[in-house]
Assembly symmetry: C2
Homo-oligomer: 305 residues x 2
Amino acid sequence: MRYAIVGTGAIGGYYGAMLARAGHDVSFLLHSDYDHVSRNGLRVSSCNGDFTLPDVKAFRSTADMEPADVVLVCLKTTNNHLLKELLPPLLHQHSIVILIQNGIGPEPDLQAALPEAHIAAGLAFICSAKTGPGEINHQAYGHINIGNYSCPDKALLDKVITDMRDSGIKAAEVDYNEARWKKAVWNMPFNGMTVALDARTDQLLTFPATRSLIREQMMEVAGAAQALGVKGVDEAFVDKMIADTLVMPPYLPSMKLDYDNHRPMEIEYLYTRPIAEARKAGFEMPRLAMLESQLRFLQTRREQL
Amino acid sequence: MRYAIVGTGAIGGYYGAMLARAGHDVSFLLHSDYDHVSRNGLRVSSCNGDFTLPDVKAFRSTADMEPADVVLVCLKTTNNHLLKELLPPLLHQHSIVILIQNGIGPEPDLQAALPEAHIAAGLAFICSAKTGPGEINHQAYGHINIGNYSCPDKALLDKVITDMRDSGIKAAEVDYNEARWKKAVWNMPFNGMTVALDARTDQLLTFPATRSLIREQMMEVAGAAQALGVKGVDEAFVDKMIADTLVMPPYLPSMKLDYDNHRPMEIEYLYTRPIAEARKAGFEMPRLAMLESQLRFLQTRREQL
């Protein structure tokens, strides 16, 4: 199996390096880090043990890469408009594209852009950061759930999961819709609220007013999932997310890091799309729609500075 | 008619000085400015012409003041717990207490504390600020609407309005509930949103996302008023508030000034009470309830710093 990593950052760098270290054939698409990584390889500081990958198949453009059996897309969704151009050189007739991204809706959008593509979702549960050129710091967790969106060959997806497990990555297959909406239960409240109130997850849960609000927002996500016929996203799951977060160390979600570092926020797939999907099913998410408006205000004001 | 001003700040200082300048008997309750004002009087810089009031009947405590026919309460509602002690020395059998304050609910709360009191609401439409000890800067507008809450003698209220008009204050009698809820249509969205997003009124209306949100929040207030049987607070009024604000100069509402100057915010009467009143009538205000939670978070975090 030949793997291609599109977006060699905190997520793609980690999973790609883990696969390559185990001996898999992995090619990496790089942008600003290309020169450094071609010369020096990738370095992973991990809570499970540090390692270096001295020889990396690094590329500047997908046009120079061979077609792959499995393409792991690890870009921020704010770059997804590029996929229609980036992916075709990497795809043969049976390639699988796995979108390891946040939010609701990237798969149908990619399917519309590339109707023949075989697509799956990857939900990564990992604390990881890019700390320098070719340097990945993997702090905690690391498991990945794969949900099939449009891959006709289930055996191929099973093979990917086996490869990941053999490479030291905890991986499992899950229901596509359930996985995306379950992740949204946590992502939608915490990503935006940490930005809007310049707060950490633990602060939002310490103060009674915001703790109630976070729970109400999670219930909006659960309500949307139920209106869309997605199973398993219920009040018990919401309570589990609150309980799990209460025992997490203070945490800044990816959108908060994006905002603080003046990168565009993933508002479209984290808010606009799920809110629109729910509305089509007759379900309103007023608190999360308000949060979306606040985030769009903050992002636009910053762009105009 | 003898007047007493409780709270000689931007509002009380202005209206009290206007009445005193016209020759009415006005006593002022002062706190930190007492020494300065007893010696130097009040100075009003006004868009309608500056004036000074050299001799001011200044008091440090209502216990030293004579009962008044009309008491204008111009404290922030965050101090309303003091009224039960402050007001009794000022009241005779026929005194009127006019609460020139923001929000929904200060009158019923005062009535519960002082069951015999004759109470009215004063809705001030004025841009005014206290710029130093005994110094009031009146920038724009200035009219006041009076709504009768529990005054049995309507003639006495008419007399107050006549006195105000004779003193150069535009004054009118309005329906109590309609006046309070109409003011809430503007106050609830703009006071909290300028704090939550550190923004001016004009910025909130310039960006499409927040302009829609402000309108939805105004519609929540209109919906609450309608659920409570209050007339005249409809979509047309909401559109008028948006249109009026679009032609206003950039503005920071009082809650934003309170927050920026590390004073407590009037969350209770501007948010908690109207939201609770609406809920009792079966109407939810999810966006404004979310804003209340955000404001409580910001206020509590600041208090803990």
